[in-house]
Amino acid sequence: MPRHKLKNTASESDGKDNEFSLYYVEVEENSQGGQEKQTTRDGKRRRERNGEVSRRRASEKRTTEVDNKRAGKKHEKRHKTARKEGEKHEKRQRRKNADREEAEEESNKEKKNIKNERTKTLKRDDEKEKDVKKKRKKHVKNEEDNANSGKTKQKDCHDMPLKEKKKKRKKPETTSESESKSESESESDSAPESKDNQAVGVLGSLTPEELEKLKEAVDERKKLIATMRGKPWPMKKKLVVLRSSCVLQRQETLLIISFLYYSNCQKWMKFQRDFENFKTACIPWEMKIKEIESHFGSSVASYFIFLRWMYGINMILFGLTFGLVMVPEALMGKPYGSIPRKTVPREEETSAMNFAVLWDFGGYAKYSVLFYGYYNSQRAIGWLKFRLPLSYFLVGVGTVAYSYMVVIRTMARNANEEGGGDDTSFNFSWKTFTSWDYLIGNPETADNKFASITTSFKEAIVEEQESRKDDNIHLTRFLRVLANFLVLCCLAGSGYLIYFVVRRSQKFALLGLENYGWWERNEVNMVMSLLGMFCPMLFDVISTLENYHPRVALQWQLGRIFALFLGNLYTFIIALMDAIQLKRAEEEIVKTNMTIWQANLYNGTVPDNSTAPPITVHPADIPRGPCWETMVGQEFVRLIISDTMTTYITLLIGDFLRAVLVRFLNNCWCWDLEYGFPSYSEFDVSGNVLGLIFNQGMIWMGAFYAPCLPALNLLRLHVSMYLQCWAVMCCNVPQERVFKASGSNNFYMAMLLVILFLSTLPAIYTIVSIPPSFDCGPFSGKTRMFDVIQETLESDFPAWFGKVFSYASNPGLVLPFLLLLVLAIYYLQSTSKTYKRVNMELKKKLQTQNEENKKKNKLAALKAANELEQARKTGEQHSSSSQHTQNSEPPVSSTHTTTRPPASRGHTSSGHLPGHPQQPQKNSHSNRK
């Protein structure tokens, strides 16, 4: 969970600091390995001068080297780290000295050491006693013995010559370890015990690769020194070779560079981790969705993820239409009021600024860039020579094409993820023992995690229940058929109702809408939204008959509501088509009237032979056709707005108000409202998903005639994201059966694809077969809208291009190409199927192998257990026979008990394998003794 990550960065950084300090120690040690050779050189040089001193130093060096040898072994670090901490300062100082080659200073210092030595040795004995006691408490017994032996050896150390000590290096590690231990104790008197433990804890966090690298470097150095020691070279040559062999000779530089490297590495890692956190924080609404998922399960979360995805798509659609159509027209096109299509007509002027414009989108909103009719048919506008009509057409086609591409790509990606059944063996054990995240450091996150684990358990239980269910199949089938029948009846009824209402509204429209009230005018919308609201509830009630798994039930529910909405959608479209026909008839009349009006205008006022300037008529007064494209766009915008309003109002009344009533009326009500009748509402996944999908369908259908639609939709999605997140968290309760819904994502996508297809059909139909209006929109004056492409080809491209294009569009070329395409698709599909099958088989193979391994392990464990049992038994027998006790059991019965296979293990048990020798048992017995 990203939330955890964020919350835990603080603690992690603490850990890193520790880690870092450890690295520091490691590096130092590393350098010490190298430094050691220098100092040994010094020691050799000075051996004659100051024998004892050099010996002491060498013994120290030896212990450090021994330590270095085993730097990777963690359990030994435990003893070392304390010393390291203590020695750090001393060593730093010493290293400086060695570098400067100031022997005198060093010897001075060492003289001091000699002075202190006598008192120290006295102290040391006492300390060692303490040390041994401590270890007795802490460690196992054999270690204690080692410590004692080490103690004695330590004393010898001082008198031993250097060469002997070198030999001793190869002695068993335990002794040297204890030596180092004891010495460390003596040297680091003040090293706190707690630091030791802490350091060990941090050691565990070192990555093994880094440890390995360090070890390798140290080993290399040691090998080099060892080989050189054996060679009979003069000192100078040795030094030269050493220098030349090492890339980094100076220990200081090595230290600095490695220090920098590691610190930078740490910083880089920390930065990467922070960057990951930042990335998750950048995913919009991720936190909200995670929170919802942890409380309401993945089914509800899947809706919100889908919503977010939709938001992304709409963002791009909006960008396209806004950037390539609306903004160029607003900036470079002719301003408002310049031509009739860009002005509010005189008869509408009085009501053009009414408040109703906000939801009706008439008046000034109608004559603006928001709608098709406002755009001019001028081929290129502005100083950029922007081809607006072409751009308009291409954006319209491009948005749809882009949507297709995205939906199909997402579907393919989701299909990848599904791939075969997942491994569900030991599901519950996994969940029980591995779900908690031990890095959680804040109570709110812990609560969320707790909720999410509980939800996942619920989901798993539902799955398990479903797999174990066995019911009366005939009854279930009957009930399912009955439910489907009822749903079909309901669908037919609602379809007829909508048809009836649409017919009625057409009648009203013929007679003139002004004569009727609000109810009649909005009847279609009202009925459609009411049906859309109530029929899903009815389906939901009916679907309880079917007794499906909730996920399957959700898909059925989605399918049914889809059918319902589809009916609504198509009645709406049919009504719209009728309206278009009406408008076109009207347009014809206007056209003829227009010529008469013009003729009257010129004839009536101007004499024929005058050269006076033509009369200017205000564009608002010029008669114009009923622009059917704008009408279509307006209808869609109205539909979207009313739909949005219905959704929000339902949310507020159905969820929020209900929750408030239930919560606060419960104190003074005669029955329990929270558990009983109204209760809180559950989140309606299917309804919301379908609402979203159909809304998107509307956008795709209407976006060509109303470029403002993607913007409106973006607004709607944005608001509903926040509103619904809030509503879910504050007024809904989780469903009774929370279920896993990762699979239904592709189902959503499939529905979206169907809707996309269905919604592009009418749009394409209108574009291809209905001629555009004569006096509005970017395609006015053309016979068809797609003529704009031809026009561009002819005028903007060189002649050969048009030729090539015409050849390419020759059916003789297009048909083979299509055929090739189909063949390619078929080939790809069949190969993907094969791959899938192979995958499944591999998975199966893996599973069977796993099971076999498990069986083998079980068998082995059983065998071992049996052997142990037998060994114990025989041991008992031995002891009993050796002790000659009187009440020893009869041997027959005892052997019987040992050889009898345990009843519960069944086929896997094999009490006593026939060919199995008895000897190892005796061995094991003796070992045990």
């Binding site: 309901c490 009824g493 609602s494 109702l497 009836f500 209402v501 009625r504 009230g517 109810w519 009649e520 009847e523 009202m526 009925v527 009411l530 049906l531 609201m533 109530f534 029929c535 509830m537 009815l538 939901d540 009630v541 009916i542 419960n666 104190n667 009500w669 005669c670 029955w671 329990d672 409202l673 929270e674 558990y675 009983g676 009748f677």
Partner: protein, 259 residues
């Protein structure tokens, strides 16, 4: 004028409501309508009709037979909100586990639960059964006697519960209540519980069993019980007696004692 089409669009809502809450409609029909019709027709109260039925159909002296007859009458003929067979099993199990000596029952009604409790009590135990309504108490007494329990075993007190509880110690010499069974007015659950707490009759390990805490429901009672910290609460989920599909529950409280 609202058009008929819009009205028709509300039909699915109506259907949904009817289907979803069908059990409540059944309950309404059986508990209210049938009762009203029968009251008008026979002139007897519902409880008296139940008694008549039991008198003619059950074996006197056999508690099980009386309970069975009661269940049959309530599920097939009319509706009386007794504890019912399913929740009765929970009650039986509790009684067997704890073997209470002194039992207080609030809300005798027809005596069904009294018979049920008395049946599984050990010898020497005593039930104090409180009923407010005079006519119900008469019927209950007849039924209890019919089941073969005498006055030593069952003490029927015809008074409101809030008057009885403070005076239990003085009037009846009760020192400690082992089990309290609440099945009277749901609104009285909480005040009566307060009275019980104040009277000092509850000892550590005393059990209070409250029926119908979810439907019709006693939210305040549950809230108090969960918050007060005096009790260990368990809510047994079940359905309403004699009607499937309406969720109900019994709250079992174990008094932990005042610390």
């Amino acid at each position: 004028m609202v058009s008929p089409a819009i009205a028709l669009a509300f039909l699915p809502l109506l259907l949904t409501l009817i289907i979803r809450y069908r059990y409540y409609f059944v309950l309404l029909y059986r508990a209210v309508l049938i009762r009203w019709v029968r009251d008008c027709l026979t002139g007897l109260s519902r409880e008296e009709r139940a008694f008549q039925y039991i008198l003619t159909h059950a074996t006197p002296g056999d508690a099980q037979s009386i309970l069975d007859t009661f269940d049959h009458w309530c599920s097939k003929v009319e509706f009386i909100s007794n504890i019912g067979p399913k929740k009765g099993k929970i009650l039986d199990r509790l009684l067997q586990e704890h073997c209470p000596i002194t039992v207080l029952e609030l809300g005798t009604h027809c005596g069904y639960s009294t018979v049920r409790i008395a049946r599984s009590l050990p010898i020497g135990a005593r039930i104090y059964s409180v009923e407010m309504d005079e006519r119900n108490a008469q019927v209950a007494e007849k039924i209890i006697r019919l089941a073969g329990f005498d006055e030593d075993m069952v003490e029927l007190i015809v008074r409101p519960s809030d008057e009885v509880i403070p005076r239990l110690r003085e009037d009846f010499g009760v020192e400690r209540l082992d089990l309290v069974f609440m099945d009277h007015w749901k609104r009285c659950y909480l005040p009566d519980l307060h009275l019980l707490e104040g009277s000092g009759l509850l000892g550590e390990g005393s059990i209070i069993l409250a029926d119908n805490v979810i439907f019709p429901g006693a939210p305040n009672f549950l809230r108090h019980v969960r918050r007060s910290g005096l009790y260990e609460v368990r809510v047994h989920r079940a359905t309403l007696e004699y009607i499937r599909g309406i969720r109900d529950g019994m709250a079992e409280l174990t008094f932990l004692g005042i610390k």
